[in-house]
Amino acid sequence: MKASVLQGRKVHGGIVEGEALVTTEAIGGYGAFDLDTGEVIEANHPLRGASVAGKVLVFSSAKGSSSWSVWHQALAINGVAPKAYVVRASNSQVALGAVVLRIPTVTDLDRDPTEALESGDRVRVNGDEGTVEILQRKPR
């Protein structure tokens, strides 16, 4: 396995390329986003002010209200949802969100993706194979 590939398991299939938006924190749904822009608005969240629109969202896990999939679906309807989820430790909220949004989603990777990836990295998420390939590092 190449060093630039993280190997995990599929939560939901599909393949996309995109820019990573990374947080070591958990991601909520209810009250977490401006649903029109995809901007994170949750108080005290490290991603506050950043938009998840069109990003490969890399995060530790899902948290908060069980209406998680409702708000992520609303982001999708408004065209500002993430295009893939890469999750350190998936749970039922992430799995359901992935199923409703039908986006590539991987978890249980051989390296912690929230440490191995940085916001701005270009990655390819292969949900079917359960992999994340780092295509281009953000210039450091």
């Binding site: 009250g31 949750e42 108080a43 908060g64 209406s67 409702v70 309807i77 799995a95 199923v99």
Partner: protein, 444 residues
């Protein structure tokens, strides 16, 4: 719980591969109609995403049907707002419109449906009220009971110990697992609706004995007494635990039922504590050994006055003594809390600049009406909302200061209403603020 697993599923199977029972395959194949086929298809993809190997029967489901994006978003997906199309898209994630006949499982619905008597007070106004009225009628049509509460266990849906449920609503999920000893994962809108239609939920996570045991021990030094204390401790560990399951040791005073509701809500607000044990209090924790089972304690954490003070500071985010809005009843107040607040307000009148909202469920409201407590509350100027939620209140002024006795409410108010100044205190402090218009809460 082997007795609950259908015979067809007990045959040897490859690890990590989802196996379907005969009735599950029939539903997936459309032999029980297109709606159940959509529901089963969603559940199969969901179960695969979880890594579940089979399903388990459930006859206890709760829905969060009133929790929907604003009507503008609904219209983008379903311009006609046809109710079957809305349900297909927003409850089953299906672009194809499927008409549901009846749910298979006993199913009740959650709050957020709006109190039809106060359209102007709640987000979306009359239009949202009308949509919720149609959703209520839709749920009735398909055999769902409109309890319209986030605490169904206070109102006729109390699962038995060990019962397999598919529940939404974070505070209720933690209460269901931890306090009642019933079993639910953190289900969402779409999975719970699919479970209602099929009577199935993935046999995964909290449904399995081995996943319910504690792996973190918390030594409680700062003894929780009031519901506020339980909120503080629960919220603190909500931020610390991730998906770990805590066992709390050293709790000397048995919490009342509202403290356990508060504790269940708190751990699920900044985190995902869907299962906790308190030695000598919760049903799967008579002893430390029982709470831990075969799992090893990986971390030991403490809770003392310093942690308690820190989380109190974190929750109180106002620098103004004035209070404009007081919100009580999150999660929904039951009879005891309603009676307590009525006695605090008896013969008094709230301040002219303050609005006091108390949310509860229709069944409790019906009893309060007959017992005279609704009159007491109304004479004091309080507005009791049924079927609804403080977080759908239409707060026009973002500079308003909100006070609540719920850590969950003060956590969610900024993200959902635009208000940034919040106070968190005891029920008495909140009622006092409603009467005086001033915040005088302190950590005692």
């Amino acid at each position: 719980m082997i007795s609950d697993i259908p015979d067809t599923l007990t045959s040897p199977r490859a690890a990590g591969t989802l196996r379907l029972g005969r009735d599950e395959q029939e539903m997936l194949d459309g032999k029980q109609g297109p709606a159940r086929a959509k529901a089963m298809e969603l559940l199969v993809r969901y179960a695969e995403g979880l890594g579940a190997e089979s399903f388990v029967d459930t006859n206890n489901v709760t829905l969060i049907a009133g929790t929907l994006p604003d009507i503008a978003v609904l219209r983008k997906a379903v311009p006609s707002l046809d109710i079957d199309a809305v349900a297909s898209k927003f409850y089953l994630g299906s672009d194809e419109v499927v008409v549901v006949d009846k749910v298979k499982a006993f199913t009740t619905s959650n709050a957020t449906h709006r109190d039809q008597k106060y359209p102007d007070l709640q987000r979306g106004g009359a239009e949202a009220c009308e949509l919720m009225r149609r959703i209520e009628a839709y749920l009735k049509r398909i055999g769902v009971i409109n309890l319209l509460t986030c605490t169904p266990y206070q109102s006729g849906n109390t699962p038995s110990k060990g019962e397999h449920c598919a529940w939404i609503e974070s505070s209720a999920q933690a209460f269901c697992n931890s306090v009642l000893g019933a079993r639910t994962n953190i289900e969402g809108q779409h999975s719970s609706f699919a479970s209602a239609l099929t009577g199935k939920t993935p046999l995964w996570g909290m449904h399995l004995d081995e996943n319910r045991h504690a792996n973190v021990r918390v030594e409680v030094e700062a003894q929780p007494v009031s519901a506020q204390d339980w909120y503080l401790m629960g919220y603190h560990f909500g931020t610390q635990l991730g998906q770990d399951i805590p066992v709390y040791t050293g709790v000397q005073r048995t919490p009342g039922r509202y403290s356990l509701i508060a504790f269940s809500a708190a751990g699920m607000t900044p985190g995902s504590v869907v299962m906790y044990h308190i030695i000598g209090v919760t049903p799967e924790a008579a002893t430390l050994e029982q709470a831990c089972g075969n799992r090893r304690i990986e971390r030991v954490l403490g809770y003392g006055p310093r942690e308690r003070a820190q989380v109190y500071e974190r929750l109180n985010r106002s620098d103004k003594d004035e209070v404009d809005i007081v919100i009580l009843g999150c999660p929904h107040y039951g009879l005891e809390q309603m009676k307590t607040v009525a006695s605090m307000l008896e013969g008094k009148r709230i301040h002219g600049n303050v609005a006091l909202y108390i949310t509860t469920m229709r069944s409790v409201k019906a009893v309060l009406d007959r017992e005279g407590y609704s009159d007491t509350l109304s004479a004091a100027g309080a507005i009791v909302l049924e079927d609804s939620c403080g977080l759908v209140l239409n707060i026009m002024d973002p500079s308003a200061v909100v006070a609540s006795d719920s850590a969950k409410m003060v956590h969610y108010v900024p993200g959902t209403t635009g208000v940034s100044k919040v106070w968190f205190g005891t029920t008495q402090e909140c009622v006092d603020a409603a009467i005086t218009g001033k915040w005088r809460g302190t950590l005692k």
